[in-house]
Amino acid sequence: MTENLKLVALAVFSPFISLLLIAIFTRGSKKLSAFIAILAILVSMVITIVLYARNFDGVKQQEVYYFQWLLTDYFSLRFGFIFDSLSLGMMFIVCFVSLLVHIYSIGYMHGDKGLARFYAWLSLFSWAMLVFVVSPTLLQAFFGWELVGAASFLLIGFWFHKPEAAAAAKKAFVMTRFGDFGFFVGLLILLVSFGNIDFMTLNQLGKNLGVNPSFITATSLLIFMGIMGKSAQFPLHAWLPDAMEGPTPVSALIHAATMVAAGIYLIARAYGFFSASPFTMEFIAVVGMLTSLIAATIALVQNDVKKVMAYSTISQLGLMISVLGGGGYKAGVFHLFTHAFFKALLFLCAGSLIHHFNTNDMWEMAEKGGVRKMKITLTTLIIGSLALAGVFPFAGFFSKDAIIVAFEQNGKELFAYAVMIVSFLTAYYTFRMIFVLLSPEPESHGEHEEGHDEHHGHDSPANMTIPLIMLAVFAVFVGFIDTPWLGGYFDKFLLGKEEIEHLHWGVMIKSTVVVLLGIGFAYYQFGGKTGRREGFAEKVGWIKAMLVNKYYVDDFYFLVVRGLVIPFATVLNWIDRKVINDTGINGSGNLVLYSGRFLSFLMNGLLQRYLGTSIAILLFIVFLWQLI
């Protein structure tokens, strides 16, 4: 085990230890629990920084360590740690966002009676996510994959007394679990065929080992099914908007930056495997783009700030997946990195707003007024929005350009145009939100609110704003690492590529124009006005109906569950009760009873019946003897 891997192991298990400590010792004390959890993730963060410092130019040689978990006849099931640029980068994101969310939550969750539990679950999540990130084998990836799902369930359902939260938690878990069915089957097939396969071998399957391409297509599609669930791709995306019922820091951490990105990470990790099947790649690209468009359109009509962000997350995830499917490995990973920062930022800002206004609805926030007074929140929110929309020089700009470039380079112009549309829509709905929030305060309400609620007009506490600022810094600057101005650092780090890619000015200009159009259009419709208004998408009735109803996907699921699964279960239950139990089991019991009753005709109390039966049986026995 190399030095690096030892550090990785330490980083992974630090949150786990925190989980155990909180569960066993400090669950009674909120402060202590929070302290332990933050300390643990801080340790991980520090280790990650140390690792990063030691491998500033990327990890040249992938380092892997295995230990045996189980041994059966086919193979040994091994767990272990992997250390390379990809995992280091992801670890950095996970630890960084997680740390900030931990800190942010002190303020956000202030006074919640389940704080210790909250931190325990956060630790659980961090641990599970890190396990996933450093997994060298598909099995361990699945292990972590499921655990983050469970952590997500627990955190979405953190306020379980809210029925919506409870329902959302269940929905999230079941839906991702449905995807995981595919993942699990794919994993099982791979396990059975190749033993406990690690990613290195997996990536070589198509090339060196000469495996049947259709086999790879089938398994990769199955695994992609899991990714669709976890990364909320159409049609398994429906859980993610609902998951916003959880505490906002959780949304920021899990449902924006890390867990939902796990699918993208997995594709990146097993890129060789996926790319060995052209059909899968095509499929991934199409599904991703479709998701992206669908989510972006739905986001147009959302009024809940978190929902807007949730759909934008789905949309961005779709982009990443699509570009990975389209062959843009670097672009996908890069967007994953940048997106993690600005989306986490956006969510935390939203959290700050929600914390402040006690509502999720952007119109209500606007009505209550005082957004402008929350200087830091507002600033960072706008920075995040710009980054999301992809305005130069914010992070999103570079990564989105990379995506378009990747599509163009791979000869998928259609996708490139689709990205343009998405980025127009993104810019539009993001700034729709900003402009609504910035809308002038209605005078009548302002007076009333002022007297009613004193703390209006102040920003959130420092433990909430500092994470915002830190993330904002990243959201502004992190995009530059892929530019020639920083020597193509990201390429070097991730791919070890030495030559510097030049800038694609054409694409940059095109996309900037599109984004500015989107922002402008948003301003045209929402800027500087008071009161509720309708955007362009809401003007047409049937489109609005479709979008408000989220393309009826939820209704479809409702129909499937209520109309198919539960009736099916009821019918089975009926069969079980009536046919198997009452007829089969009770029936055979009754058979005994009734045959006893039937036989009692022999015992009807008449002497001659007794005698006659006796003789008859005796003679029957004699005949029986002659038969035998």
Partner: protein, 490 residues
Amino acid sequence: MAFPILSFILIVPTITVLLILFCKPEQKTAIRVISLIGTGITLLLALMVFIQYDRTKYGIQFMEFIPWVPKWGINYILGVDGLSVPLVLLNAIAIFTGVMVSWHIEDRVKEFYGFLIFLATGVFGVFMTQDLFFFALFYEVAVLPMYLLIAIWGSGKNREYAAFKLTLVLFFGSAFVMGGILYLYKAAGLNTFNLMELKRLAQYPRTVQSILFLLFFIGFGSIVPSFPLHTWSPEGHACAPSAVSMLHAGVLMKLGGYGLLRIAIPLLPEGLRDWALVMMGLSMCNIVYGAFTAIAQDDMKFMVGFSSVSHMGMVLFGISTMTLTGLNGAAFQMFAHGLVTALYFSSIGGMYNKTHTRMISELGGIANIMPRAAFFFALAGMAGLGLPGFAPFVAELLVFIAGVKKYTIFGIIAVISVVVTAFYILRCVQRTYFGRTNPKWEGLTDITNFDVIPLVILVIALFIFGMYPSLVLDLLQSETKNLAAKLGTL
């Protein structure tokens, strides 16, 4: 002669039962404490066995051999091997926690603990004996107290019906087991019930193996429970008091799988080969059908009962693959499922003691007033739906691997149950524990610290064996390897 630790595992509970018999019915606390001490000592002994078992040699250890009825080839043989050590431990955990869980019972305490511990003694006997006569002797010991325990201390208006059904179906099965054992004895022609001898020397012709395996399959299948004979199980669970449900699902149902692994497969490998497809088909019914049926249940214990049906189907499925991995999975599933269901039932029982209903539709928001009970149920649910990190995941993984390898399509169908399980467990968690609290339940208090102890023990066990399954799996594997070798799939 060394310290006869296995005999003491039988003797200590027996003495406990006797002591309880001589207590006055009014001395409830004394009875409880005696039970706790007795089962505690048993647990310690079982742990000692678990720890002292020599993992470098494997095979049957701690053997005690006393000729019993020499003319009939009956010997008092106790000995544990890799297969039985974990199950002995499981049983010890289940009875110890069961005693703690039933602390609240006030009605006829003396008889309750007497029967409960008597039952556990029988199960210990089954797991430890290496003689078929004693196997048969202990096999049914476990069933009968169950009848009284369910019928007297159970809940629900058709508890008697459930108790009868359970008893009769299990006896129905055991009739086949007894017949099978006797025929094993006869067909071997060695004039011995010594299982080790039979394993070593007995040769059964193919047709005999086939017939006998069918007998054992029906017999042990009824207690596993296999598909058409499963209906006793959910009802039995639902009507039994918590501790009994724990023992019932946690241990009693394992007797079937254990019997198959201990007797039927090593002696009748050809028989398994003949019947594997049938077994697979029935286990498929168990797994998928059980899981779907669980969705439709309103009574939580019924739901868990059907989930048991589904999960015990995995045991059969694993066995039907006839591979080392499958057998490992089956054996491990027995162990893991025992812990999970014990956890389920003890947490449900904790809640039920307060609410006196288990109907999902009547409950709601219980987590607000009983966070601990809710937490442990959710944890059990998580473990039950195969979350990595808990023991059942390992078992299911192994079974599925073997299943997919052997019967690709059916293996995949079995995996569907994973989704369905998640659905009904979480649906139950959502509707029972989450959400707004029904005002009817306001003012109820959470389970006490004392109640939590057994739950914590179970959770720790689940977690340890989930994270580090080799602790048990290596033991199981030492035996399943032999089975696989007999089946010719090693």
